[in-house]
Symmetry: C2
């Protein structure tokens, strides 16, 4: 088939991504790392980060082993699962872990170099930090697309099925299970990293800033290295693994939805539908690299200039991808290519709007956050009340945006017919449209993740400059870079949540595909519908399954599932909140102990025991994440076994809807508290050191776990629960009670 | 029909309730109101409360007028709505308002009398306060059941329909719309009252306790009367209207579900199914009165004794009602009477378990709240973090309880058949089971609401004793009564949320009945199902409607509805949080102004201008509730017009699930913060006045709007959105886009 040649664009794009990542990495490594102190501090952070990663990978390895044995038993022992799942699971986890390793390694090498480059000029600093961030971005998209294309080639070679359309369905539903590996890895990186970073941050602040009255990033604070390690662990590795999962998940889910939706047309069209999301992702990589090259600034740039220069890069990539989508889908000659292009664009646009809304609600350039600053005049309680109020209200725009994007993506992808819109064929096409909208939103990931990973690098550069006592001019530049990083971190969080929601929705839709495969595997050939008629499983459409499993809102099992799903979002957040509280408590005790027992710390004569603080955060994170992680994996399985398919779908929808809204609330409240404090520090409402400032610091501390632990962990929860359900679909159909 | 004689038990029970309410009121009024100072203070509070109520009823009157015109236009102008709706709407609102008026009048007369009775003995104080609370409980259940039985008689007389089964369906679906009046009244009472009480409380605390350093309820604080008024406005009138709505809503929804589910059996059985919820409610009233008479205590009683004496009353009523249910349903000879009795009991039991769980998570006798106290050692930020964590985790037990209750209630009410459980007939029977479980949970309302309304009376008695400088022995007794009130307030909140969720679920189920009636009204005789077949609307069952409207989880319209519903819960909470913040701000400014401008306040020589503070809270509450109220009414209508029936059902389910969980989180976090502070005040972790205490006060202040404004307001939101959708069902089927 001539179209097959087009497939090679996908692995080629992944190689290009990895090559550019390597180039950017080499360029960064050639930069000077600065003075001995700067090198020493960077080394401390690097060693801390790597020791955390090592510890985490050890535990991940154990968990992977356990799950591997389970999956192998389900596949080869009971025969209720796909035999490829164990292997796909492994590679998904491996590549995600590898991306985290490269990204964090790069980030920890880049921080001192960024600080040193800032000695020359702001532009030089920005370039080093941003290109280093781009390493993470490109490694993530490169490895994800590589994994997708390798598995496609392997399965295409090995799966022996004469019927082409059926073969493609098997290939895509099998590939979907490799997302489970990425999900499990992301769970550890995001939740563990999130607990780590905020335990260190809150602990460092509570004793350092509040009790001892020394500034942030002061080298006398024993927890300061752990705090800097945390930025890398949480915001680089955690964010990277989270988005790796969304990125791979959206491509795989869309491919599976495409294989099913277009199977009824013909094998050729079906193949194109499977190829489309991969091609859009592949072209997105190349256009992201172009965007990365556009980002630069002049010295003496204001915050606005800096934001604009990053914005120019991202927007350029977005516009180019939008245009390229039309070209790709047109040249594929896919049915309804104009409509599907608009589905892609609805996802792209939603990402941009959610980012803008996040900026509006969390930046102190706008009224909402300023109002939180203002409320500090009546003390910490009103800071908390107004921040919670802001976060809750801020959920409206992202939810309405996603709602419109979902409807747009659906309606554009179907055969429009007002009289009879929700036919089975149309629902399958429409769900494909929603999937490809998620791919569209994530197609800019190469550059958007670069702007995310840039943040902690700049933050660490600032910390390094502070600890190395660099001159005020340099500090001013690193502060400007850091401040920019805070804004990109906030918008990046909005983007991560939005894309997680769309990805989870695509996974939800493809869950039914797995159920179908699962039924065939256990030998169920026929299902009986409500009206008493029967239909062959192989020929049943999505509406037949909705009918067979009674997945309607009057089925109490669905309703109970939705209730439990909504509860899971809150329970998971509560557990991670408490985890931070407890782990921070241990850090506080350790820092107090060091201040008490190590003579000369406060005078700067003795070096604190940084490594012990790193170890405490690491241990705390690993222990504290056990319970929430186990719940996130066990509850969907248990729901499947007790309540069956209808209960699982309820669980996923309830978790997705409540989790999405809760995540936005927590991220935006946290971001606003952070910036409300900064606004006061800039001299408003009494400035630094005033009672108002103290009140705002309380808000900021509460906001830390909100925005960096519990909020982002919800992204993982909503995707992981879907992924677990998908992988366990065979078990659910074979053994469920209802 | 012989069975018709049984109906008269219902109005008779309502008259008994009202007679006993009057007896308790007279008994209380015969008590001595104490010294001149005590009378004066009570008069201030009474006048303040009444002036608030007057103002609120004025605005409610305007809103009722607008809605009345709208409903009349829809019914008589466009013909898309039932002609009885406008009148039913009016009486529902009128009786709810009347209950609030009587309840609050009683409470404000009772507070000084309770304080005075506490001079004699603890038991005397308890008796006066509790029996006065019982007035509210009995007036609510009495008027609700009176309204139900009157309307039943009126409609039975006027509706001219020869087919008995069809007539009963019309009667019950028409009666359902009177819930809209109760909902609208509850919206104002609960949301307005909630904003009022916390604006006054937070404002009074911020200036009085924090800035001026004077104790709570100090007569020198100009906001102290407003604060005491707030207890009556929010916790008596607001709580009462909230539960009036749940109580009436659950009876009406169950009657409508019963009329539809049992119509296929025969007219006789259908009539019994409609009668059953009314009879259970009626017998519940009488058994609640018995429970009320059991509550008493001895002087020198510990907190445990007090709790036990209230518990004995409530538990006795619960057990008696459980037994009576079997008797009632057996003598009705209703199909599957044993199963349906267990449905009732699953609701009753769920109410008790949710109350227990609330107590565990919010009482400082247990570890969770003690841990929040402990976290005060590292400052206010960790108090907030641990309180938020606690609240989120505390959602698990209530959600699982409700989930099990829903499944139990459903499964017990159906014709059990593992192979084919979810038939249309079974789903209708099962939903009736869920409805009657809600009735079961609420059947103890006469006494549970008495324990709720008792709280603010005891609180006000304590305030009165403080301001009137009564002796330490009396203060100790009123403190004990007040402390008991805090616990009953927390468990009462759990009960209110749980019953709101079950009621909303019953309303959700009966929504489909209204859609059916709506279709018939606009002349749609036939619907076309997915498989192309057609069915007469009059004969269509619930699964046919699920199919016709595509109410399954793969329909993006349903998913979008669920997202918007979940968002509504957060948006509504955020708006009410901010409302409290803003209104409290105005109170703070007023109190500061009085301290500054009225000479001699601090020395106790000049009386502060209490009335102005009352007026400010009143005005603040009325203005601030406009936006959230309008949203709660407009969004379901807009969703219906744009997204149709599938979208509305999604909206209601999303709002119900996320709103229920969010409400529990907010109520329990708030309760825990309150009691964590009290635990410190009892001498733990440094005691009153310590830095830890200050940190805990921040938590308590944040918790005020959590537990008394935003959390309880969500009860209203989830019921009101259902009720609006039900009333607007005709408009939705006539004009919706999709």
């Amino acid at each position: 088939m001539i179209i097959s040649n087009l497939f090679w664009v996908v692995p080629i794009a992944s190689v290009i991504a990895l090559v550019f990542a390597y180039i950017f990495f080499r360029q960064m490594m050639k930069e000077d790392e600065g003075t001995d102190t700067m090198r020493k501090i960077a080394l401390h952070v690097r060693k801390g980060a790597m020791s955390y990663l090592k510890q985490q990978y050890k535990i991940v390895a154990i968990v992977f082993l356990v799950l591997l044995v389970l999956f192998a038993f389900l596949a080869f022992g009971l025969g209720v699962q796909n035999g490829w799942t164990p292997f796909a699971f492994l590679t998904g986890g491996f590549f995600s872990g590898l991306a985290g390793f490269f990204g964090m390694k790069t980030a920890t090498y880049a921080s001192a170099r960024t600080a040193n480059a800032a000695k020359n000029s702001l532009n030089h600093g920005l370039k080093v930090a941003f290109r280093s961030g781009a390493v993470m971005g490109l490694v993530v998209v490169g490895l994800a697309v590589l994994d997708v294309s390798l598995w496609y080639l392997v399965l295409n070679y090995f799966i022996d099925e004469p019927d082409q359309t059926h073969k493609l369905i098997i290939i895509t539903t099998t590939m979907l299970t490799f997302g489970m590996g990425a999900s499990t890895q992301a769970l550890f990186a995001r939740v563990g990293g999130g607990i780590y970073t905020k335990a260190a941050d809150v602990g460092a602040d509570l004793v350092g800033k509040v009790e001892a009255g020394i500034p942030e990033d002061d080298p006398r604070n024993p927890a300061t290295i752990a705090d800097n390690v945390g930025d890398n662990v949480g915001d680089v590795a955690g964010m990277g693994a989270d988005l790796y999962e969304s990125y791979a998940g959206s491509i795989l889910a869309t491919a599976a939805l495409g294989a099913s939706a277009f199977a009824t047309i013909d094998a050729n069209m079906q193949y194109k539908a499977v190829l489309a999301p991969m091609l859009i992702a592949a072209i997105g990589i190349i256009l992201s690299i172009i965007g990365i090259y556009v980002v630069k600034t002049k010295d003496g740039a204001t915050m606005k200039n800096l934001l604009r220069s990053l914005g120019t890069g991202v927007n350029l990539s977005s516009v180019l991808i939008a245009l390229a989508t039309f070209v790709i889908l047109h040249s594929l000659q896919i049915t309804n290519w104009v409509g599907i292009s608009f589905s892609v664009i609805s996802g792209l646009a939603a990402g941009v709007i959610i980012g803008q809304s996040t900026e509006y609600f969390t930046s102190h350039s706008y009224r909402p956050t300023q109002r939180v600053s203002e409320s500090s005049q009546t003390g910490p309680a009103t800071v908390i009340i107004s921040g919670v109020g802001l976060g809750m209200i801020s959920t409206a725009i992202p939810v309405i945006t996603i709602a419109i994007a979902i409807l747009m993506a659906f309606l554009c992808a179907i055969n429009f017919d007002v009289a009879n819109m929700l036919t089975a064929q149309n629902i399958q096409l429409g769900l494909y449209g929603i999937g490809i909208a998620a791919v569209g939103m994530l197609s800019t990931l190469g550059i958007t993740l670069a702007t995310d990973a840039y943040g902690p690098i700049a933050d660490n550069a600032g910390g390094n400059a502070e600890m190395s006592h660099l001159g005020p001019e340099v500090r001013k530049r690193t502060d400007a870079l850091d401040s920019l990083g805070n804004t990109t971190a906030a918008t990046g969080k909005g983007f991560a949540i939005g894309s997680a929601a769309l990805t989870a929705l695509a996974l939800l839709a493809s869950y039914i595909e797995e159920i179908k495969i699962g039924l065939l595997r256990i030998g169920e050939k026929v299902i009986t519908l409500t009206d008493g008629s029967t239909i062959e499983v192989a020929k049943a459409n999505i509406l037949n399954f909705m009918d067979y499993y009674h997945v309607n809102l009057m089925n109490p099992i669905v309703l109970v599932g939705i209730f439990i799903g909504a509860m899971m979002a809150f329970l998971f957040s509560g557990l991670t909140m408490n985890a931070v509280g407890r782990a921070a408590q241990k850090m506080v005790e350790e820092v107090r102990r060091q201040f008490r027992e190590i003579a000369g710390i406060m005078e700067g004569k003795a070096e604190p025991d940084y490594a012990r603080c790193v170890a405490i955060s690491t241990r705390g994170a690993q222990i504290e994440m056990i319970l929430p992680s186990v719940l996130a994996i066990v509850i969907p399985i248990a729901t499947g076994l007790v309540l069956g398919v209808a209960g699982v779908l309820g669980l996923l929808v309830g978790g997705l809807s409540a989790g999405f809204v809760l995540a936005i609330f927590m991220a935006n409240s946290g971001g606003a508290w952070d910036n409300a404090k900064k606004y006061i520090e800039e001299g408003n409402f009494g400035g630094k050191g005033s009672a108002n400032h103290k009140a705002a610091v309380v808000g900021d501390t509460v906001g830390d776990p909100f925005k960096d632990t519990s909020g982002p962990s919800l992204n993982i929860l909503i995707k992981l629960m879907s992924m677990v359900s998908i992988v366990m679909a065979g078990v659910t159909v074979a053994y469920s009670l209802f």
